[in-house]
């Protein structure tokens, strides 16, 4: 598990998951850290379930229903910050 991932690698891991599972490897480098997954069509409304499953398994965290909001999950940087908060016990 990668529960002690460094700041940079955390972003990279999330990015890799998104690129492989939602962009199917088509990473032309255009997906920016702040880009909204929903607005850019990277993740549809059901795709977030896949993302949550991945985050729970990869980072050994438990995500509550109340945390399933775009503020936490709608870009690479939001997801990364959210995981850090969870790991630090501020989830």
């Amino acid at each position: 598990m990668n529960s002690t991932a460094s700041p940079q690698s955390l972003e990279q891991e999330v990015r890799r998951f998104v690129v492989e599972n939602f962009l199917f490897g088509e990473d032309d480098g255009s997906l920016q850290l702040e880009d909204s997954f929903l607005d850019s069509g990277v993740i549809d409304s059901t795709g977030v379930l896949e993302l949550v499953t991945f985050l729970e398994q990869q980072y050994e965290i438990k995500i509550d229903d109340t945390e399933l909001v775009p503020d936490n999950l709608d870009s690479i940087s939001r997801v990364s910050s959210f995981i850090r908060r969870k790991q630090n016990g501020h989830g």
Binding site: N21, F24, E26, D44, T46, V48, L49, E50, V69, D74
Partner: protein, 647 residues
């Protein structure tokens, strides 16, 4: 129901009978009972017909002629008001040689010319050769129940019921129309006129055309229309008139010289039709249905309620994941276009059951959702508009929970995500496609799988421009509900529901579908029902339910709407074993074959396939992508070959 094919050499070269024979053989499944030809060597004309005998079995052979052999017809379909039209013509002194509806069409043409189609109530695609003027007249029914394709190849104008017949003409070559592919990966089907084959066109629903002196002239004889004012009558009055119309629409659709059965889905529409047939015919009705081993899709419980109430003699086919995957290549070959869901496959199996039971004709419930207001996309449009009027409201978007109750993954979403997905952008409110933007935008994401070459070829192509061209001038004056209905009835109904899932799947086994809800009198009346009664608040098909409440079981009347669907990715992949269920799936999705066809990005497809094998491809988008890519690859394999994909 039948298949037809024909050609007209503009330079007068006599039509080649062998070529015609090959062409009509390509649509033999549509009419296995008889084959007929007519050639006019002096004019370069050739007509061919494959007949499925339903009305006037003894003397309705085609091609049929009148006027001492100067005027000829090949006809696919049924004219349900032929009895009344025939009587009307007889009163004017017209004499008939046969009892068939085909002769009625021909004599209507002699009486009224090309406007004869305005008086026809039915489903048709036909070609009339008027040797008096060397003029070929082709026409297609109002909403696109029966197909008709054409192309110009060299000096020949060539037409047929299905593209596979055209491809048997030596001058016709098959290559992919990339814009049609982009359309399919946006709207689920190519927009009207286009087919997946470059240079081959479909005569759109509600259109006629004339070929004369080497010139083509095409015009629209009918389109869905909505008034700006509605019928101002009580709900009871409106409900009884609707029921009266539906009863008559069903009654004339029982005209047949062979027995007629009905499909049952367990939903409201087919239950209404089955109930009306049982009431009108008075004899024990034969019904047919699909059930699914996969309980998420199975509706056999609701079907049983209807069977019990109506006392029908019922046959059903139980459909497994393997069944769908096994027949899918044949399904795509019959559809002649890619599909994004597997739902046509069980319809293919069902028509096989009907045929095995000795039936040729079934009545079904198509058209009700479009014209009487049944689809969730209409509900979605209402809720999003309601929310947009007060974007800060917290309870208005809570209504989004009422949408798509049958989609488990969507239902598992938090409200926050649901809001984000159905969010209304201010610009969207100005769009004529407001109702359909979420669906079309989601589907257009599938274009990410296209190869770089295809993406480059399509770089200047905007699929929405084509839809804009379909909108009549009055469109903006219609209420939003009618606008959404128009889009649904103009794009998905003919392009997918009545063709890929309808005519092609039924005719694959020589079975004819008939659709009382698509009687143009019903459509015309439905358009005049106030929109608030088509769907009362969020109660879909409200007026229909009111009209038929004494006819169908209460459980069917009150059940949540569940559109007909079938299992997608799991029909092709055994996720427990992590492998494809069929070798053709593995083969056609392999990197080599993807690269050879040139239409998709091999890396992206491989990742999708891996995800599917692991059972992780659960979203709508992944399912549509996989079915769409696989069906396109089947098209490439069957029709286009490696050299002709054009990229």
């Amino acid at each position: 129901m039948c298949g037809l094919a024909g050609l007209l050499n503009n330079d007068g070269t006599p039509a080649d009978r062998d070529v015609l024979a090959r062409m009509i053989h390509g649509v033999r499944h549509r009419g296995p009972d008889e084959t007929g030809f007519h050639l006019d060597p002096a004019s370069g004309l050739g007509l061919a017909h494959a007949r499925l005998s339903i009305i006037d079995v003894a003397s309705g052979q085609q091609p049929m002629s009148v006027e001492d052999g100067k005027v000829w017809i090949v006809f696919n379909g049924e004219i349900f008001n032929y009895v009344e039209l025939r009587a009307e013509l007889q009163r004017k002194g017209v004499r008939f040689d046969t009892e068939s509806d085909t002769e009625v069409v021909l004599r209507m043409y002699l009486d009224r010319g090309e406007d004869c189609v305005l008086d026809l109530n039915g489903q048709w695609a036909f070609a009339i050769w008027d040797g008096r003027r060397n003029r070929l007249f082709l026409s297609r029914d109002r909403v696109g129940k029966r197909p008709l394709f054409y192309t110009q190849a060299g000096v020949a104008f060539i037409f047929a019921s299905e593209i596979k017949a055209l491809l048997r003409h030596p001058a016709v070559k098959a290559s992919v129309d990339l814009e049609a592919l982009a359309d399919t990966f946006t709207f689920w089907c190519p927009l009207p006129s286009k087919t997946m084959f470059e240079g081959i066109l479909e005569l759109p629903p509600g259109h006629s055309m004339v070929v004369e002196g080497g010139q083509l002239r095409r015009w629209q004889h009918w389109r869905p229309d909505f008034p700006t004012g509605y019928l101002d009558r009580s709900e009871d009055d409106l409900a009884s008139e609707l029921l009266e119309l539906l009863t008559d629409a069903t009654r004339i659709r029982l005209r047949s010289d062979v027995p007629v059965g009905a499909y049952l889905s367990g939903g409201l529409d087919s239950s209404v039709i089955a109930a009306l047939v049982a009431q009108i015919s008075g004899s024990r009705l034969r019904t047919f249905s699909v059930t699914f081993e996969d309980r998420e899709f199975d509706e056999s419980g609701f079907q049983a309620d209807v069977i019990r109430l109506l006392g029908t003699s019922h046959e059903q086919i139980r459909c497994t994941h393997e069944d769908i995957g096994r027949v899918f290549p044949e399904v795509v070959a019959h559809a002649e276009k890619p599909v994004l869901r597997t739902a046509p496959a069980p319809m293919y199996l069902l028509s096989g059951l009907v045929r095995d039971q000795g039936y040729k004709v079934v009545l079904t419930g198509e058209g009700s959702d479009e014209f009487l207001g049944g689809y969730d996309i209409f509900k979605e449009d209402k809720i999003r508009r309601f929310w947009a009027r007060n974007p800060e409201s917290s309870w208005r978007p809570a209504l989004l929970r009422r949408l798509y109750p049958y989609m488990q993954n969507l239902q598992a979403q938090s409200d926050a995500y649901r809001k984000s997905f159905f969010h209304v952008n201010e610009d969207d409110l100005e769009s004529p496609f407001f109702s359909h933007l979420p669906r079309w935008e989601l589907t257009s994401r599938l274009r990410q799988f296209l190869s770089q070459d295809v993406k480059s070829s399509l770089s200047g192509y905007d699929p929405y421009r084509g839809v804009r061209e379909l909108l009549p001038a009055e469109f903006e004056d219609w209420d939003p509900f009618s606008r959404a209905q128009f889009l649904e009835a103009t794009v998905l109904l003919p392009g997918y529901i009545l063709s890929s899932q309808g005519d092609r799947m039924a005719m694959a086994h020589s079975v004819e579908g008939r659709f009382p809800f698509l009687d143009h009198r019903v459509i015309h009346f439905a358009a005049q029902i106030p929109p608030k009664l088509r769907m009362k608040v969020l109660n879909e098909k409200y007026l229909l339910k009111r009209a038929v409440r004494s006819l169908v079981p209460p459980t069917v009347l009150s059940r949540p709407k569940q559109p007909y669907r079938a299992p997608d990715i799991v029909s092709f992949f055994d996720t427990k074993r992590g492998r494809a269920r069929f070798s053709y799936v593995e083969e056609l999705l392999s990197t080599d074959r993807i690269r050879a066809a040139g239409l998709f990005n091999p890396v992206a497809v491989q990742r999708l396939v891996e995800k599917a094998k692991k059972g992780l491809a659960i979203g709508v988008k992944d399912n549509m992508a996989l079915v769409g890519i696989l069906s396109t690859q089947i098209m490439a394999d069957r029709f286009f070959g490696r050299q002709s994909t054009g990229v």
